[in-house]
């Protein structure tokens, strides 16, 4: 589903990713772990198509298509979703309005008819319940005055509403206490699906206790330096990144 080959990315002239190669199949959950500054967030932004991230070499293929040729909103319509580390506030725009606008934009881009307000509301309400997102949150302006936990829950709610094919979760665990983490992780697990691939980016092993990945990649210095099964996370937890980085990749 997703094939990244020898990806080099520069931001403001500085090379951040230096030859990253990664491949994910539908139904799989992969984790990317790595120390601060290793290029984790850069990878997530490049996949989403954020401006200012220049690909200097390599390729990203998504369902057989050159992902880099698509605009961010086209990627979204084709099923690429990024749960952001720092969800953005949009004053005056209610969460519900935002969800409806986004959902219908994606549908339109796919040539599907718009959903009316009532059916969107029904759909969102049902899914919000599972994630402990209150009715009141849906009426408030998007992310304005939301706690860290609320913001992250809302990201996962969006993911469940948009039903993406490829979901990238960028440090979804950051700033969450253990209860919030559990709710978010349960939400993510509920979305595991044979047709869906997920890329979970995290600094800590903790999240992977709840979202158990099929494969773990360790990112350091802009490259994948180690790969393995879920046990790799435990090894990292026990020995730290330093240990892995010292070993020849």
């Amino acid at each position: 589903m997703l094939d990244i080959k020898n990806l080099h990315v520069s931001v403001g002239g500085k090379e951040i990713l230096k030859g990253l190669t990664l491949s994910i199949q539908p139904g799989q959950v992969h984790a990317i772990m790595g120390p601060n500054g290793s290029g984790k967030s850069t990878l997530s932004y490049v996949l989403a198509g954020r401006a200012g991230y220049d690909i200097t070499e390599g390729s990203i293929t998504y369902n057989g298509e050159d992902l880099t040729a698509l605009k961010p909103e086209e990627r979204a319509a084709k099923g690429v979703f990024l749960a952001m580390q720092y969800p953005v506030e949009i004053p005056g725009v209610t969460t519900m309005t935002f969800l409806k606008t986004a959902l219908n934009s994606q549908r339109r881009a796919r040539g599907e008819p718009d959903l009316d307000a009532v059916s969107v509301l029904k759909q969102v309400r049902a899914k919000a319940k599972l994630l402990n997102v209150s009715e009141e949150m849906l009426k408030r302006a998007l992310n304005v005055g939301f706690s860290g936990g609320e913001k992250k829950r809302l990201e996962i709610l969006q993911m469940s509403v948009f039903e993406p094919k490829l979901a990238v979760l960028d440090e979804t665990d950051s700033g969450l206490d253990i209860d919030a983490l559990r709710v978010v992780a349960e939400g993510v697990n509920a979305l595991r699906d044979p047709s869906r691939a997920m890329l979970v980016i995290t600094h800590y092993q903790r999240l992977l206790d709840y979202i158990v990945p099929d494969r773990i990649h360790v990112l350091a210095g802009g490259r994948i330096v180690a790969e393995g099964g879920k046990e790799l996370a435990l090894e990292l937890e026990a020995k730290g990144y330093e240990h892995i980085l010292k070993e020849p990749a």
Binding site: G49, P72, G92, F98, T101, A102, S105
Partner: protein, 483 residues
């Protein structure tokens, strides 16, 4: 003549003219170029006005000759040659088009985006079709309901003829003939406008809007509007149109006077979307408007809501004179300036009575190379015990070449006054845009969504039927503003 009858007649006339290929001598229906006492007499005669009205106009004209064009606003435009303009042209001579195929496709595109019903599109674009007759039936039902309630709602020229005492009593009582250069010019040459009188204790049974909207294509260059809400009455008036309209008259100088007596309330909403000029700043309407409301009675209330997206230059300060004790004035404004547009707009809240309250919410959006100024005055006079004002001015910038300016004047001559002023300036952040894009919302829609969020407090003040169109208009005005 009733509104319905007049509308019918107008429609009939239009049809006839079209059929016979405009044989009417157009010159006959136009005042000669330039401005003189003769022009004023010509207009007054065309309107069949009584002597007192002509005298009033001539007085204004003589005064105007001694006045200077104001230059304190933060707007720049080439000098206007007042002698090289036409001051009266019968609007019905606009050649009608046979079908929508003859209308500028760009205009139709915008109508479509705004979701304007087809027959209204035709009326707006000046297409001669049977559909226009729909408006006659609408106007008829409308008129009946208003008649039952005793509400007078008619063209000002009709009011001058049929209700001279009311007109004499209120004309120029809020905006005096001598008020300012443009208002005085309007007093001399106004050609049309609306007159509304809501009797004591009557709640006007409907928003005074549909009629006006259908007839928007008839509005003149110098409009004069008077709305009087007698004791304990309520009226909501909608002016303008979300649909863009081409107009050959570059200079517009309207005057609006509102009077609210004891316990009366007037809600006045405007959506102004006149031709703003092209991307290079060529052409476009100069809109120099004087709008003022007088809260003459105790516990009266006047509320202005405006969405200003059009015109090359906007010079406009809808104001409230809070004369009655415990009266309330409100001003809610969205001003959008894109490309080379210049907007200098705001309000004046003049607190004269005790326990008067005012509230100002202004949202200015600048894009392209536009300059957007909020200019406001809050003045508390000596007798205005416990006067209160709250002002909030928010500016939003899109791109790096535009400007936002806030010029608040605050004067207080009473120590018990409480005046609050808050102002913010922000930019649409790149991360907000990216967030929207990532969720599948294309750029122009994302800008529209974010700006509508920014304007929400004001949009909520608009009557429902207008609010939806106004939201779309906000988006359309800013299309392509983020590169």
């Amino acid at each position: 003549m009733s509104i319905a009858a007049e509308t019918k007649q107008q429609v009939a006339e239009i049809g006839e003219k079209y059929k016979y290929g405009f044989v009417t001598d157009i010159e006959m229906d136009m005042a000669p170029r330039g401005l003189s006492e003769d022009t004023v007499r010509f207009i007054s005669a065309k309107k069949g006005e009584p002597e007192w009205m002509l005298e009033w106009r001539l007085g204004a004209f003589r005064r105007w000759l001694t006045m200077k064009e104001p230059n304190w606003a933060r707007v720049h435009y080439p000098k206007i040659d007042y002698q090289n303009a036409f001051y009266y042209a019968a609007p019905k001579n606009t050649p009608l088009k046979q079908s929508l195929d003859e209308v500028d496709p760009k205009l139709l595109e915008t109508y479509k985006k705004l979701g304007i019903p087809l027959h209204e599109q035709m009326a707006l674009a000046g297409v001669a079709v049977d559909a226009v007759f729909d408006s006659v039936s609408v106007a008829t039902t409308f008129k009946e309901k208003l008649n039952e309630a005793g509400v007078i709602f008619c063209p000002i020229s009709e009011a001058i003829r049929d209700y001279p005492d009311l007109v004499k009593q209120y004309l120029g009582s809020v905006v005096p003939v001598t008020d300012n250069f443009f208002a005085t010019l309007n007093a001399a040459v106004f050609s049309d406008g609306t007159f509304v009188y809501v009797p004591k204790g009557v709640r006007c049974p409907m928003e005074l809007s549909t009629y006006f909207r259908i007839n928007a294509s008839e509005t003149g260059q110098f409009e004069r509007t008077i709305i009087i809400a007698d004791e304990g009455s309520y009226v909501s008036y909608l002016e303008g149109c979300t649909a863009p309209k081409r107009d050959e008259n570059q200079l517009h100088a309207a005057v609006v006077e509102l009077v609210a007596l004891d316990n009366a309330e007037i809600k006045y909403s405007t959506v102004q979307n006149w031709y703003p000029g092209d991307e290079n700043g060529l052409g476009g309407i100069f809109n120099f408007v004087t709008k003022r409301g007088d809260c003459r009675g105790k516990k009266s209330k006047i509320s202005w809501t405006q969405v200003e997206t059009g015109s090359a230059i906007t010079w406009k300060y809808p104001s409230c004179i809070l004369r009655g004790d415990e009266s309330v004035g409100e001003f809610y404004s969205i001003a959008i300036a894109n490309n080379y547009q210049q907007a200098d707009t705001g309000t004046k809240m003049i607190h004269l009575g005790a326990n008067t309250r005012s509230r100002i919410i202004s949202k200015g959006i600048s894009a392209g190379k536009a300059q957007n100024t909020y200019r406001g005055l809050v003045s508390v006079y000596g007798k205005a015990k416990n006067a209160r004002n709250y002002t909030q001015c928010d500016s939003l910038l899109i791109g790096g070449d535009c400007g936002a300016h806030t010029v608040p004047y605050i004067e207080s001559r009473n120590p018990t006054a409480r005046i609050e002023h808050e102002a913010t300036t922000s930019k649409i952040a790149e991360d907000q845009l990216f967030y929207c894009l990532q969720r599948g919302i294309p750029q122009d829609e994302a800008v529209s969504l974010i700006v509508n969020g920014f304007c929400r407090e004001v949009l909520q003040q608009l009557p429902m039927e207008f609010a939806v169109e106004a939201q779309k208009l906000v988006g359309i005005s800013l299309e392509g503003s983020v590169g």
